[in-house]
């Protein structure tokens, strides 16, 4: 097998059937969540939105008319699952983006600047690391009053922003440590010394020369972080701190199903399955990415 290079990395990723499967899973769920609602709308006009109720059909088990059954208020579970996927995936991606920005700022600065700046930033990271991320996010979300209607954004939108900001603002510590560690390994490299000798500014060296060479492991960690943010969103929503109803998310659908988990198992089965599959997809893709970037682990993970 040829060693090194981007091409062999790509081919290693493609050869990893699990990783490709994970990516396909993520793509399929994202596509279903984005394209699903309009398609449902076109095919069956009665399923228009996540709020279309079917009076008299509350809590009905899966059938031809409602492939995944209906819930307590007569909402079609499939329609809500697709709309809920949109909110869950959006929140997880946005939270990861925020965490990545904070982590890059902290990790790059700490690793590249070194000295007391490094020490101070790392103690700050340790502090946030000491608060279990979801617990801190839970307190942050609870500290703010529940979003209400009014203003230019509906309450559901406000609660989504609150969720991904809280998840992002509390979930960056692991990424920051990883980025700092990567920067430390690259910092002493000859091409960095050369850039310094050429008189480039520290910011330019950090962003143009150090950062690109740290991206591999960071991309892996960020992919895995999307999965854990999905779980975080689901957890907060499950505690009733999620997207404001009636807008669905997978976690809040599970929360709604709690009262009926014995009598109406379809209510909890499908949202839970959707979360698991989405997280699984991101985890498989992340693992595949890691193996593709680092052939050493691929040999350990031989199929």
């Amino acid at each position: 097998m040829p060693e090194g290079g981007a091409r062999s990395g790509l081919s290693r990723f493609r050869a990893n059937r699990l990783a490709v499967g994970g990516l396909a899973l993520v793509a399929a769920l994202a596509l279903a969540s984005l394209a699903g609602p309009p398609i449902l709308w076109a095919v069956t006009p009665t399923h228009t939105t996540y709020q279309t109720q079917f009076p008299g059909e509350e809590l009905s088990p899966p059938s031809a008319a409602h492939p995944l059954g209906t819930d307590r208020l007569g909402f079609d579970v499939l329609a809500r699952l697709l709309w809920g996927g949109m909110s869950s995936l959006l929140i997880a991606l946005a939270a990861t983006a925020i965490a990545l920005v904070i982590a890059l700022a902290v990790g790059l600065t700490a690793g590249y600047a070194g000295g007391w700046i490094d020490a101070a930033l790392m103690r700050l990271t340790d502090t946030f690391f000491a608060f279990p991320s979801i617990l801190l996010a839970m307190v942050l979300v609870a500290a703010v009053d529940r979003p209400s209607e009014g203003g230019w954004l509906p309450a559901a939108g406000k609660s989504m922003i609150l969720l991904f900001v809280a998840l992002g603002a509390t979930g960056w510590t692991g990424l920051a440590r990883l980025i700092r560690a990567q920067v430390l390994t690259v910092r002493g490299a000859e091409y960095v010394n050369a850039a310094r000798a050429l008189g480039l500014s520290p910011a330019r060296i950090a962003l143009r020369h150090v950062l690109p060479n740290c991206l591999g492991p960071v991309a892996v960690a960020a992919t895995l972080a999307v999965g854990s943010n999905l779980l975080g969103e689901a957890g907060l929503s499950f505690l009733g701190l999620g997207v404001v109803p009636p807008f669905p998310s997978w976690g809040s659908m599970l929360n709604d199903s709690r009262a009926f988990f014995a009598e109406c198992p379809w209510l909890m089965a499908f949202p839970g399955l959707a979360i698991t599959l989405a997280v699984l997809g991101f985890n498989l893709a992340g693992d595949g990415l890691r193996d593709a970037l680092d052939p050493r682990t691929a040999s350990g993970g031989a199929r």
């Binding site: 000491a130 608060f131 801190l136 307190v139 909890m268 997280v279 699984l280």
Partner: protein, 308 residues
């Protein structure tokens, strides 16, 4: 070793101090005027001002922070708004429940995770390995509260083996399903790490030497690879503790266990801000201490760490 212990202990201090600052900031950030909350809605403006002065809310923030820390150190805290009980007593009682849950889950996670890792490393590439790895990657992806609901639906409703809801102190049977749910999820991560660490050790020269000298495959795995693979595993166990505590919160709400998570959730519902934040500070302090313990363990397992 002593110097290392001391250095790491000193490094913990600024973190603990910053944790206090975050706790104080959260108390201040919470919506609602504490003076109005203490007196109720009918208080007059003069009474409110007096109460604000009594609580020290009219003083500059650093002074307020100093009072906050002093009160915390002296355990001079307001009672819980919701239950009227002393907060340390509430947190202590809840912690014992969460601790039982966390230890039980850790036991399940280590037993299962290490078992799966050993099986995978003994027969890498086999169908058993494939099964163990699939179970592990699926386990990492399952929301713990969903697994908890599934377990309840099957083992408490369909097959009424375990009690449904209502925690009774002393009755361990109501802890079996929660520990199983949380332990299953955390065994998955451990299985992945132990497999990777064991396989890595098996490629080392000392393992090959042991094989060449006639040790059996299991012998090499258990006597030679396993002790060295413990180092990364302990690190992962330590870093999983945060997840375990978070998972415990979610698990507790499903099973109605009166642990720290349930306490925090109730406090959120009742806007019982001191209970909420002190519980959070308590969790953070525990976490700093456990991380310290893990580092110490790490240094004891791997002497090279001490001089890094």
């Amino acid at each position: 070793m002593k110097r290392y212990l001391l250095r790491r202990a000193i490094e913990c201090l600024p973190v603990l101090a910053l944790v206090l600052v975050v706790g104080f900031a959260l108390v201040r950030l919470m919506p609602g005027d504490p003076a109005a909350m203490a007196l109720g809605e009918k208080a007059s403006a003069a009474e409110l001002a007096a109460e604000r002065q009594r609580q020290g809310l009219d003083r500059p923030l650093p002074a307020q922070f100093a009072v906050f820390v002093r009160n915390l150190a002296a355990l001079d805290l307001p009672r819980s708004r919701q239950t009227g009980r002393e907060i340390p007593e509430l947190i202590g009682g809840a912690f014992l429940v969460t601790l039982r849950l966390a230890l039980g889950s850790m036991f399940v996670a280590v037993a299962l995770g290490l078992g799966l890792g050993l099986v995978s490393a003994r027969w890498p590439g086999s169908w058993l390995d494939w099964l163990a790895r699939t179970a592990a990657v699926a386990g990492v992806s399952v929301p713990v509260f969903w697994l908890a609901m599934l377990l309840l639906a099957v083992f408490a409703v369909r097959l009424p083996i375990f009690p449904l809801g209502s925690y009774r102190p002393g009755d361990l049977s109501c802890l079996v399903l929660p520990c199983l749910a949380l332990g299953l999820v955390y065994s998955a991560g451990l299985a992945r790490v132990s497999r990777a660490a064991l396989l890595e050790e098996l490629t080392r020269d000392y393992c090959r030497t042991a094989r060449a000298k006639g040790a059996s495959r299991w012998g090499v795995l258990l006597d030679h690879a396993l002790p060295n693979a413990m180092v990364p595993m302990v690190t992962v166990m330590g870093s999983q503790l945060a997840g375990l505590l978070t998972g415990a919160v979610l698990t507790e709400t499903v099973f109605g266990l009166p642990g720290l998570g349930q306490l925090m959730w109730d406090a959120i519902q009742a806007r019982d801000r001191y209970v909420l934040i002190l519980a959070l500070l308590f969790v953070a302090a525990i976490f700093v201490l456990v991380n310290y313990a893990v580092d110490v363990l790490y240094a004891w397992l791997d002497p090279r760490v001490r001089y890094a």
